[in-house]
Symmetry: C2
Subunit: 460 residues, 2 copies
């Protein structure tokens, strides 16, 4: 039997077991589900896209794919930026978008149980009436799904104070490669029975199993928040502002650093005049019952550094923070432009930003930086003029590599919150030893002995 | 060669490689290191106790033990209460107590790196001068080590607000069963490179590797705290108080519930007269810049329920919370008395406490309860009169089992923070499916193929 015959048998079986409307081989559907927002190096078309509506659909897909030895690429909204949801050769893309029901909200337990396709913002809206929030808020929160957030262990702005996805996930229902459904974790805030398989699965980018239900811990939506914006002469001063806030031991809910390049992008996008006012900005939000007290402490600390600081809850500061929080970036990365994601120890941030400038200058590429500064998590965007062609791409790639090396040399990591996906896989061995890489491969083999789950992603 | 000859060769080799002063076979040393604070069912004497001082000592011990096929039981201060550090037959106890150096404190990064034998309170004292704290504070914090806290994923009082051990651990250096040293995790607050092996190792009770270095995230030591004590007529009212605090969306740093039995124990221990004043208590501490505002909100919410509430920072309230925080319990559990540790969804707490009363009455055993109420984590202590002999022990065991079943039926877990150790191993299959138990065994086999690391603990 030829591969093509085998593939069409598989697609027929999927249609039979899951329902014809749930399996698509339409070219435009295949294309739309062939990649996420990560840089595309080698575009592959999936054999079919399965739109699961029930746990049984996921199980059937994995059982059939296992039997056929066909790869399965699980997918939420496809807003990832590391290629974790890029289709691989001869694969089934398994979309969880239709599994979008909030199964339970238990306000007194401060817990919700959701299907993987629930959009982050939808969950947040649903729990807000109870005075609760789901804390992790990646910039894609209006599009991205909880399942996708779990797959990448997504961060965001609020995690400076409230932690990343793994800190809000209590338990998971997961379908393994052979179709087995398991439950990990628990319903309670605390629990130490057995190994922490839940944390192992969070951030595993669909390489260990397909998440079909997520039990999340909710946090208190602050009755009071205070937003301030501070303009500095340059990023070095702004980074000094970050350290000053830390040294007075105030923990903002949000603490973002924007360099001049980012300010210019905002000016173009929103008609503001930020770049005319200074060379770098900090956007700070405090919350909780001490929000005002904290905002005032932050304000005077930053003014002492010579920053121009807005009044607490100045309209523009509020607007800028919300703009920043909701900004999904400005489109898909390509070979001429790449948004990076490293984290360094916070005290190394200033020096690292200086290094980035040097790297950009040396390689004649452009760079602008925005940072979740409270966490030392930087997102430099590097780009070249497309007219520079292959030579520009080569310079860009060289600059990217150098920026990753420099982050590691500063004691940092190759990825703060975006994940390894396909984009960072080659760099993983720079950060992790051969022994650690080997342990990860062995763990993968426990969950997915045939290696059908999102092959070529997340680990080496 | 007889087993005895093999054992003495092993001990000779250990002495040669690690140093004679670091290997003890003194009977009183063996006895002192043969168990932790958990109930002892089957006391075993180790072959020897190795007091490691360097990473190389740990590696040498594991290499020699692997070659000899002898079990290794790693051990911190031995303050665990689930038997996780109980010696097993023909084992080497590997004490990490002498590896007690704080390797680094980086105040600007809010990170410390410590050896596993550093006592929790010692780390907290060392970082306090920088306005920082290491948040997890098990009641044993004045004796227990960070390594032991990592092994059990220890909780404590402050984790209501600041999370448990795993939430404060960024990275680990770990020696595997064959002596290989690996590093997991990172130096930064955020990072998603590869699978989260760090969280997998935290709480694994020394069954996957021996932790030789821990990189921890520090939190801000609050400039301001407010303590209040509230007396209620009974635990049902006190539990209503817990829900009331949650519903006004105030997150206390500490929220402890004490029943009348616990109040009587405190009265005997400290000469107070708590039991004369009511039938249950809540001890609440708020912190942060909003501490006073929050304490006042909590106070009026509890008064509305009819509680007698002390003024914020009433001397006795402060003293009671510190007393509770530092209370290591009153001695070693034995067959006539067992301190339990379950967690339930918070809204199920009242009903669960009622169930505990019924279980105690039905089985004619005594029970008293203290709870980390903010987390739904309950510590009932069950006991019988030793004069009741075997019949009393049988009734106690029956009550324990029923209390665990009831916690699971309430949607809870068999262990909130103490760990499985040996004490809860038989109950693990009540909580976790055969598939999950099997995955855990396979993970164990990756790290420790011969099964020499703390065999018979943590997993089934």
């Amino acid at each position: 039997m030829s591969l093509e015959t085998a593939d069409s048998i598989l697609i027929d079986e999927l249609s039979q077991q899951i329902g014809e409307g749930a399996v698509s081989t339409e070219p435009q559907v295949l294309l739309a589900h062939s990649h996420d927002f990560g840089k595309i190096v080698d575009l592959q078309q999936p054999l079919a896209v399965v739109f699961a509506e029930r746990v049984e659909d996921v199980q059937a897909t994995l059982r059939l794919a296992s039997a056929a030895g066909v790869a399965v690429v699980p997918r939420g909204a496809g807003t990832g930026v590391s290629g974790g949801a890029h289709a691989t050769a001869r694969c089934i893309v398994l979309s969880l978008e239709r599994m979008n029901r909030i199964l339970e909200i238990r306000p007194d337990d401060e817990v919700a149980v959701v299907q993987p396709g629930v959009v982050n913002a939808v969950l947040n809206n649903a729990v807000a009436k109870h005075g609760l929030m789901y804390a992790p808020d990646p910039a894609s929160y209006q599009q991205s799904t909880i399942g996708g957030n779990v797959a990448t262990n997504a961060g965001g702005l609020r995690c400076a104070k409230y932690g990343v996805t793994t800190d809000s996930v209590l338990g998971l229902d997961v379908v393994l490669a052979d179709g087995t459904l398991i439950s990990t974790g628990r319903n309670t805030f605390k629990g130490v029975a057995g190994y922490d398989l839940t944390s192992l699965l969070v951030g595993s980018e669909g390489t260990l199993g397909v998440v079909v239900s997520v039990t999340v811990r909710l946090r208190y939506l602050s009755a009071k928040t205070c937003s301030i914006a501070a303009v500095f002469t340059d990023v070095i001063q702004a980074a000094a502002g970050v350290m000053a806030i830390a040294r007075i031991r105030v923990q903002p809910a949000i603490l973002e650093l924007l360099d001049i390049g980012t300010m210019r992008v905002l000016d173009v996008a929103y008609g503001s005049d930020l770049a005319a006012r200074g060379g770098a900005m900090l956007l700070v939000r405090t919350d909780g019952h001490g929000a005002e007290i904290e905002a005032n402490i932050v304000r005077s600390a930053l003014e002492n550094l010579g920053a121009h600081v807005s009044e607490p809850d100045d309209e523009e500061a509020v607007r800028l923070i919300e703009m920043r929080r909701a900004s999904r970036g400005d489109g898909q990365d390509d070979k001429y432009r790449v948004g990076e994601d490293v984290a360094v120890p916070r005290s190394a941030m200033v020096e690292y930003m200086g290094t980035l400038d040097q790297i950009a200058a040396r390689n004649r590429v452009m760079v602008r930086i925005v940072a979740h500064a409270g966490d030392g998590n930087l997102h430099p965007t590097f780009w070249v003029d497309p007219e520079d062609g292959a030579a520009g791409v080569a310079r860009l790639d060289a600059a990217l590599e150098e920026s990753i090396r420099a982050a590691l040399e500063a004691g940092g990591t190759i990825t703060g919150e975006h994940g390894v996906g396909t984009a960072k896989r080659d760099w993983l061995a720079w950060e992790q030893s051969a022994e650690v890489l080997e342990i990860q491969r062995k763990i993968k083999a426990i969950f997915d002995p045939q290696g059908i789950l999102n092959p070529g992603k997340a680990i080496l």
